[in-house]
Structure formats: structure tokens, C-alpha cells
């Protein structure tokens, strides 16, 4: 699950165009606080907001059944509304994910995903270990059932992990965990997304993170209510819009806010992906040892352990 929830956390921001910037200035100068019309409400600093977002309570553990769709899209206009529509049947992947927060022995969190469909990829597994140390890249492994082998996914620690996550528009760097000190932040504005008030924060990667990230800047819309990132625009290093992540179907499950649908639009490739949580268990009881290379290569063992979770 943290693979999904980490996606939520990834969203960093970017260079806004001049128009938006002007608008921000306009809003700023017309804000009630400047005019003294309302009581001054203390706005947390953008770093504090993002710290809360990164460290948001996502549950200590999770067990999720996901469906991932990816396709080339075309823009269809109807009744003055534009719609992004798959121009060919989408590729559909179904996979299960489990995740657990560790927070000890330098390990931050562990997650494991296993593909159930399509048949050609059944049994393909992916495991990730995130570290507490700032700037340290996650370790990733894949299990290739045809070869009966576990292979370490080796990326460039000094460069971005832009490889595709299960063939979608989500890249491995998108599912890496971030620390608040990995970026500098700027609060651009406050606005609503579908009646949900948000902070709009621009994030620029710093130091080592700047080298390991393919995005130059990102802009995130953070829900004031749940600290979930409802939308993120990622800009490439030349300043052009590369990807937009949108999260919706936000629900409170076991007291924890979860976005059950995420759409990723790759503007430069005209492709989009939808990650949908078909079902989700928050804080199921299982040992951190379950997320291991043993479980990655042995679906049977993993299934039997998950059955126990299900039975509880």
C-alpha cells in the first residue's frame, strides 16, 4: 500500500506560468488578511505542511488490491467539455500490495506488490525498502517467474529512476519516499478542488535529490483536511509540464484518509494511467518479516499468510 501512498507523497511542484503567478499575486494582495477583514489565521509554513503530508498517518500497515490501467489518450470535446479518452483499449494490470512502516534499523518502510493479471505477467513481483536516511535511494527487487529468479532493480543513485512501474505512466521515482529536507517549498496560493480547500505548494528538489529526480519542479495541491495530495503537476528540468497526478475518491478508512483513485497524465507522451484501489485493509496485523524476498518469490507462502490476515 505504501507504494500507492508514497505516490501520494511524491508530488512536488513546479514552475507556474506567468499567468498563474500573476493570479497568485492578485490573490495575495486581495487576501482578507492583508485587508484586515478577518481574524488573522496562522498559516503553517509550506515546509510544515509538506512535513505533515510526508509523515501523514497512512496506517502502520496496509493490504490493498489494485487495478492499474494505461493507455494512449486523445482529447474529445463534447458540450464544451473536454475529455481525455483512451484511443485504444487500455492495458489492465491487477495486483496486490502489502506495506508496513518499520521506522527502525535505518529502514523506513517496506512494500511488496504481486501481479495477478494479465496472465502473461502473473506472479511478477516487486519489493521495495525505503530508508530513513535522507537522500538514500530505495532498494528494489523484482521476481521474474519465468526465470524463477529474484533480480535486484539497479538504478543510478545519482540519476532519476525513470523506469516505468508495471508499464504505467508511474515511474519508480514516483513511488520513492521523500523527506521534508529533500526540497525547498513555496506556498503559492490556497484554492479549492471540488469544494476541498487546499494549499498549493511549489517544491524544488535540493542537493542530492535534485540529481536523482527527473522533475525540475512540482506543484502540489494539499488537502487542508486530510493532508492528502489531491493534485500534482510535475515539470521537467526545462520547465515544461510533464505529468499530472490527480487523486480522488478520498475516504476515511479506520480513521485514516485514503485516496482510492489516482490518475496520472503524461502530457508529453499523451498517455494516461489510472490506479484504482479495488479494496483496502488499513492496519492489518502482520509481521514486518512477511515483506521479504521469501514472499516475493513464493506466492504460495504470501497467499497463505494473507489468508491469515483476511481471517483476522
Amino acid at each position: 500500500m505504501s507504494s500507492i501512498i508514497h505516490l501520494i507523497q511524491t508530488f512536488n511542484l513546479n514552475k507556474l506560468c506567468f499567468l498563474s503567478f500573476s493570479f497568485c499575486l492578485f490573490v495575495f494582495f486581495n487576501s482578507p488578511s492583508l485587508k484586515g477583514e478577518e481574524k488573522k489565521v496562522e498559516v503553517p509554513s509550506p515546509k510544515e505542511i509538506m512535513k505533515k503530508t510526508f509523515n501523514r498517518n497512512e496506517g502502520k500497515s496496509s493490504y490493498v488490491s489494485n487495478i492499474l490501467l494505461s493507455c494512449q489518450f486523445e482529447i474529445v470535446k463534447k458540450n464544451n467539455k473536454s475529455k481525455k479518452k483512451c484511443s485504444s483499449p487500455p492495458r489492465i494490470k491487477e495486483f496486490k500490495s502489502i506495506a508496513i512502516e518499520i521506522q527502525k534499523d535505518s529502514i523506513d518502510a517496506k512494500s511488496l506488490s504481486l501481479i495477478k493479471k494479465p496472465a502473461s505477467e502473473k506472479g511478477l513481483g516487486f519489493m521495495q525498502v525505503d530508508y530513513i536516511e535522507e537522500g538514500k535511494s530505495s532498494d528494489q527487487w523484482m521476481f521474474l517467474p519465468a526465470l524463477k529468479k529474484t533480480k535486484r532493480v539497479v538504478g543510478d543513485e545519482d540519476g532519476p529512476k525513470t523506469g516505468s512501474f508495471f508499464g504505467s505512466e508511474i515511474s519508480y521515482e514516483d513511488i520513492e519516499k521523500h523527506h521534508e529536507n529533500d526540497f525547498t517549498y513555496k506556498l503559492i496560493k490556497e484554492e479549492k478542488i471540488k469544494e476541498t480547500p487546499t494549499w498549493v505548494i511549489e517544491m524544488t528538489p535540493t542537493g542530492k535529490k535534485a540529481k536523482t529526480r527527473s522533475y525540475g519542479k512540482s506543484t502540489s495541491w494539499i488537502s487542508k483536511r486530510s493532508y492528502i495530495v489531491l493534485k500534482t503537476e510535475h515539470y521537467d528540468k526545462r520547465g515544461f509540464l510533464l505529468k499530472t497526478f490527480k487523486q480522488s475518491n478520498v475516504e476515511k478508512i479506520n480513521g485514516i484518509w485514503i485516496a482510492k483513485r489516482m490518475i496520472v497524465i503524461n502530457h508529453q507522451k499523451s498517455r494516461m494511467s489510472m490506479l484504482k484501489l479495488k479494496s483496502v485493509l488499513i492496519n492489518p496485523q502482520f509481521s514486518e518479516d512477511l515483506i521479504s524476498l521469501r514472499a516475493l518469490k513464493d506466492e504460495t507462502f504470501l497467499e497463505s499468510e494473507l489468508q491469515k490476515i483476511h481471517g483476522k
Binding site: 500573476s22 469544494e195 498517455r271 489510472m274 521469501r294
Partner: protein
């Protein structure tokens, strides 16, 4: 994009005040129009139970998948002929019961090529169809332990192609170059006990009736001529002293993994000893030897460094003796040292590269060098791969290339070719020059379910 930025700047001077007014009128920015997506997929069926697993309806659960493939492979060397033409079926599945899991993997091939080419009739009939059960075993996990019993494939080693420590599982080489290494592995009856302790994995194997590598049957264009008599083919497994044992200890750390391998096994490859050269009678021999191995992989920047070492004590090996100008097969027990070093290099733009070199010393060193490249295109629908292997000498290259296109989630087409040119075979392996005629191309269309 640059023109868009300029346009935006130009527009801002004139339209900004108007837009600002609009924004004032709509303090809540509606993003609904941007939220319209159509994946052509019904996503309304939320699982109200919020549980990722199906409700328990039966304690037994069957899972079945596989593929139906239409395959063709034509030899374009000399002589030109079909090597494969026909369909094949692969089935893989599992049965989950409250007591244990049962897994199986089998395939059946219906190869008309031998009939079309008018090869030996007895041999041709064997392939119409030729079925095999590659794996069937029960598995039970409890705590830190997992046990397996049945016909099972075991894969050892870190190399992708030039594996020198993958000695336990026999290979089915009956179609020679037509079979990938992973498809050629075939299971054998064994008992396996796995024990897991933090970063350490221990595997113990007991193999009561080992199986050996398979080669083209007599009658096959690459098999032994029909007038040869080979004793002990398939007989050896019945002898009691054949039982084998093996151990693997793997340690996983932040920087990579290391495995220590130990086995008391018989040579899997067929070794022929001449009984009588005048009536062309030979016997196949398999004898016990001690295998020691070490494998490591180390993650370093973009690369994964791989190494394997193997020492085989008094292993039965194939040798040749000259007899009136002819090389006749003989056997000898020798100590064999093998080494492998390799690098995986993954680059998002330049694709995935594998470099591997392996060497084996019996009396002299013989070695293999492999370079392989693969990259996905068209959003992973198209995969191009190519590899070149040099056998002992740079004048002995084998070039393989394939392109695989995924038409949809269930349908895939693959075009492949292999070109071999052996100009300088080693004395220790006179059979190598025979490969030089085996240039071939193939096409297969696979339906996965």
C-alpha cells in the same frame, strides 16, 4: 512549447485583468472539466467489504493459466529444413487446499516438422504430440520453514546466460538451439526444505532418483545416427546409489547477496564412452562427484556485478582419443574449475545490457563471452533484444536477435533468428563445428490465458 510560453506572456498583458475578474467571481476554481477521463473501463464495482481477498466460499481454490502457441522455425543454413512447425499448449496451475498447495507445470508440443521433412518415422511419431510434465509438487509452509515434495525445478546462479552453478536441474536440449535455458529446465523428483532466518535462507535438497540432460533422439537431424548403439540411456536412474543431496545458503545484505552451494551429485550432461568402435557401440555414463559453488551479486550505481565460481571434484568429463584418424569418445574423471563474471547495466534511454564471460578449466581453459541488449519500445509493447556469444574464440560467434510485439494483453508475436559461424573450434570440443550449420529463423504467435 516555447511558443506557448511566449503566447502566455503576451496574453498576460491584456487578458490578465479580465481573467482576474473571472477568478474573483469564482473563488473556488472548478477542476471538474479537467477531471473527465474515459478509460473505457467500468470502475464502479467497489468492493464494499473493503477486503482484498475473495470471501471464503470453498477451502479449495484452483488457479489455471497457460498459453497456446503456433510455432514455426526454419533452418536457413545447410540443409534448409523445418525444425518446428505446429501448435503447442502450456498449462500451469495450482490447487490451494487447507493442508497444502499443489503446483504443476506441463506442456505438449505437436511438431509436424519431422513428418514434413520425412525424418525417421518412429522418431517423428514421438513428437505428435510430445508431452512433458515439467513440475508437479506439493508445498507446505509453516513458520520459518517451507517444504516441497515432488517433481520440481531448482535454479541456482546469478548469471543470466552463462550460468555455471545451475547444476541441479537437468535440461531438455532435445531441440537444441530452439529452446531457451529457462524453457529447457525440467523438474526431477526431490524433497526440499527451506529455512528462513532474517537475511539468511537455507535450502536443503534430497534427490532420490536424479534425471539427466536430454539430447536429440537418434533419428533427429542433430541426434546420434541410427546405427549407433548407446547403452544405459535412461537406465541409470533405476540404480539405488543414485540418490543425491545438496545445500544452498544465501545471505542477503544491503549491497547484494552471496550464496554458498554444496552438492554431491552426478554429472547431468551425457558422457559417452566407446565400447566398440567397430560396431559403433557406446555407453552413457554418470558418476557421483562433489560440487562446490559460490555466487555473488553486488549493486553498484547503475550496474549489478555478478560472479559465480564452481569447483567440481573428479567430475566425469567427455574426452576424445584419436583412433586411426578418427576422434572417438572416451571419459575421464577430472577436477573442473569454472568462473563467471558479469555486469548488468540498465539505462532508461540506452536499454538493458548484459556482459558475461565464463571460463572452464579442465586441462586447458575454454571460455564463452556474451553481450546482450534488450529494450522496450512503444510503451513496452515492442521488445527488441539481441545477443552475441563467442565460443572459445572471437572467430566463433553466435548472433541471436528477436523482436516481440504484444498485440494485446493476451496475444503476442515473436520473430527470432540465430546465426552461428564456427571457424575455429577447440580440440577439446570437436562437436562445436556442427553448430555452424544451424542458422535459423522462427516466428511464433502466442495466446495467453
Amino acid at each position: 512549447m516555447k511558443s506557448q510560453v511566449s503566447l502566455t506572456k503576451a496574453m498576460s498583458a491584456y487578458i490578465l485583468p479580465v481573467l482576474a475578474l473571472i477568478f474573483i467571481s469564482y473563488p473556488t476554481i472548478s477542476l471538474s472539466s479537467e477531471d473527465e477521463f474515459d478509460f473505457g473501463f467500468e470502475d464502479s464495482e467497489e468492493n464494499k467489504d473493503q477486503r482484498p481477498l475473495e470471501k471464503k466460499s470453498s477451502p479449495f481454490k484452483i488457479d489455471l493459466n497457460g498459453n497456446i502457441t503456433l510455432k514455426s522455425s526454419r533452418q536457413i543454413g545447410s540443409p534448409k529444413r523445418w525444425n518446428y512447425l505446429g501448435p503447442s499448449l502450456k498449462l500451469k496451475g495450482s490447487l490451494n487446499t487447507p493442508y497444502a498447495f499443489l503446483k504443476f507445470d506441463g506442456d505438449s508440443e505437436f511438431n509436424l516438422a519431422f513428418k514434413i521433412e520425412k525424418d525417421d518415422e518412429t522418431f517423428s511419431k514421438k513428437h505428435l504430440p510430445k508431452s512433458r510434465l515439467r513440475e508437479i509438487y506439493v508445498q507446505k509452509s509453516f513458520g520459518k520453514h517451507t517444504i516441497y515434495l515432488g517433481k520440481k525445478i531448482v535454479v541456482w546462479g546469478k548469471a543470466d546466460a552463462l550460468v555455471i552453478t545451475d547444476v541441479l536441474t537437468p535440461k531438455d536440449n532435445s531441440l537444441l538451439l530452439l529452446t531457451d535455458i529457462e524453457k529447457s529446465r525440467t523438474g526431477q523428483l526431490l524433497f526440499e526444505w527451506d529455512f528462513y532466518l532474517k537475511n539468511i535462507e537455507l535450502n536443503l535438497y534430497a534427490i532420490p532418483f536424479p534425471l539427466y540432460n536430454l539430447y536429440p533422439d537418434q533419428g533427429h537431424p542433430y541426434g546420434l545416427p541410427l546405427n549407433y548403439t548407446v547403452k544405459n540411456q535412461g537406465e541409470f536412474t533405476k540404480k539405488e546409489q543414485n540418490s543425491e543431496g545438496a545445500l544452498r545458503i544465501n545471505y542477503e545484505s544491503d549491497w547484494g547477496s552471496t550464496a554458498f552451494l554444496l552438492a554431491s551429485i552426478h554429472n547431468r550432461d551425457s558422457v559417452l564412452e566407446t565400447i566398440n568402435i567397430f560396431d559403433l557401440s557406446f555407453q552413457e555414463k554418470h558418476e557421483r562427484y562433489l560440487f562446490l559453488g559460490l555466487t555473488m551479486d553486488i549493486a553498484l550505481k547503475k550496474m549489478l556485478l555478478k560472479t559465480e565460481m564452481a569447483y567440481e571434484k573428479e567430475k566425469l568429463t567427455q574426452t576424445y582419443t584419436e583412433f586411426f584418424g578418427q576422434q572417438i569418445p572416451t571419459v575421464a574423471k577430472q577436477n573442473v574449475l569454472s568462473l563467471m563474471g558479469g555486469v548488468d547495466y540498465n539505462h532508461n534511454r540506452w536499454g538493458n545490457w548484459i556482459f558475461e564471460i565464463s571460463g572452464s578449466k579442465i586441462e586447458k581453459w575454454s571460455h564463452l563471452l556474451l553481450m546482450s541488449f534488450s529494450k522496450n519500445f512503444l510503451n513496452e509493447d515492442l521488445k527488441l533484444s539481441a545477443s552475441i556469444t563467442f565460443y572459445d574464440h572471437l572467430k566463433n560467434p553466435s548472433l541471436s536477435a528477436s523482436s516481440s510485439y504484444r498485440i494485446n494483453d493476451s496475444l503476442k508475436a515473436t520473430l527470432s533468428s540465430t546465426l552461428i559461424d564456427i571457424q575455429k573450434p577447440l580440440d577439446s570440443n570437436p562437436m562445436l563445428s556442427g553448430l555452424s550449420e544451424m542458422d535459423q529463423i522462427g516466428l511464433e504467435i502466442k495466446y495467453l490465458f
